[in-house]
Chain length 261, copies 2
Amino acid sequence: MRNIRLIVAYDGTDLAGYQKQPADKGITVQGALEKALSIICAEPIQIYGASRTDAGVHARFQVCAFQTSGSIPVENIPRATIAHLPKDIVVTEAIEIPLDWKPRHNIFGKEYIYSIYNREIADPMGQRYHWHVKKSLDVEAMRQAGKALEGTHDFSTLKGANTTPVDPVKTIYAIGIKENAGRIDISVVGDGFLYHMVRNIAGLLVDIGLGRKSVAQIPELLVAKDRKRIGKTAPAQGLVLEEIFFTTDRLHAVIERIKEE
Amino acid sequence: MRNIRLIVAYDGTDLAGYQKQPADKGITVQGALEKALSIICAEPIQIYGASRTDAGVHARFQVCAFQTSGSIPVENIPRATIAHLPKDIVVTEAIEIPLDWKPRHNIFGKEYIYSIYNREIADPMGQRYHWHVKKSLDVEAMRQAGKALEGTHDFSTLKGANTTPVDPVKTIYAIGIKENAGRIDISVVGDGFLYHMVRNIAGLLVDIGLGRKSVAQIPELLVAKDRKRIGKTAPAQGLVLEEIFFTTDRLHAVIERIKEE
């Protein structure tokens, strides 16, 4: 028996999210991968993912693991799966790892990037990958708001509506914002995230960028632990699971990069 | 009567190209724009474009002009057309220009960018906008090949198969290549282009990057004036009409930028 770790990228636009669902709900990343891997390993395969992404959310670097007694050389897996996966899902890397390695227990954090296009007139070539916000945003205020969210907090105010997180206390290591030609990319690195948390951070930052809320309100909003105090969850298509960190070195390198932006 | 110049951007993936065609051939840029403008100007509108792009080709900056006796303020046109255009076509700018201004007679050149993704495993988030070339490309050889194509030449070797250009002599001012994380962007600036010429340049550069042809062969290939001497036309989805130059200042600025890349 071998334990194999995959790095997986996908365009979530036409997918029903990461987690397997009944076939009539659409194609899921987990469902498609298990089907493809079961064919190439010639046995039923069950995979475990590091992060459940929602319908419409993208990933450049999702991590999954599965065990197999099949004989396929691990380095052949990325190529071998291509023929059995929809073209919006690819396995970019496969390596063998110790049998007790589990994706949810061996990561030091994750980076998400939420992208906004901030011009009155849409960019037709980017609409699958950003949220189009027409009114002009105060990016400097958004940057300050990002800084105010960094640190260890009870993030219940930023949880998914009608969800009850097991542990709402998370640490955000860094929030950085890059701006270029109307495109605003919000990078968020943390040790873990509540359901909809990154999309709620993006929504809150946009409300602050529009002047609907102020940076000064953030401590009070967090203390309130009340999802109803913030606005709508930002739409799925702007969100990319950018990286999952297996080493603290890589985590710190990305935090440094964001702090320098 | 007013003459109005539009700048138009589109994602060509689901479009049947720029030029109007019978409705059963799919949505065209010209057809969709004429329909939208006829509604907002309340009279039948005919538009003239600077560049006919093929089915699947994108544009960040296409230029069109039309005349109208309608009363819509010119600055309202980008917003007013949104409701009447498919979401993959937008008017980003509209200005009034002298009545005798025609898009095909008042431009100093165009820039196209052809994008390639050069990794064995696909990038699922970019497939609408690049050509996926799996084998590793020698980018330095491609860069030299680009330089060898610059200048004024009879480009019949790089014309569309089975086409007869009126004037096959064109000037390429600059070809530049940027490379980042597997993505190779070929910028081509010239005074005009034959049908399929940029896609044939991209195809030839890829053949050179793969070692199928050499930079040293370029002079002889051009002199041959024979389309059969080169390989397949690169696929449409990698091509973007990036800019059309109305001033020599802007043309020279872009040439300088490319030469410094």
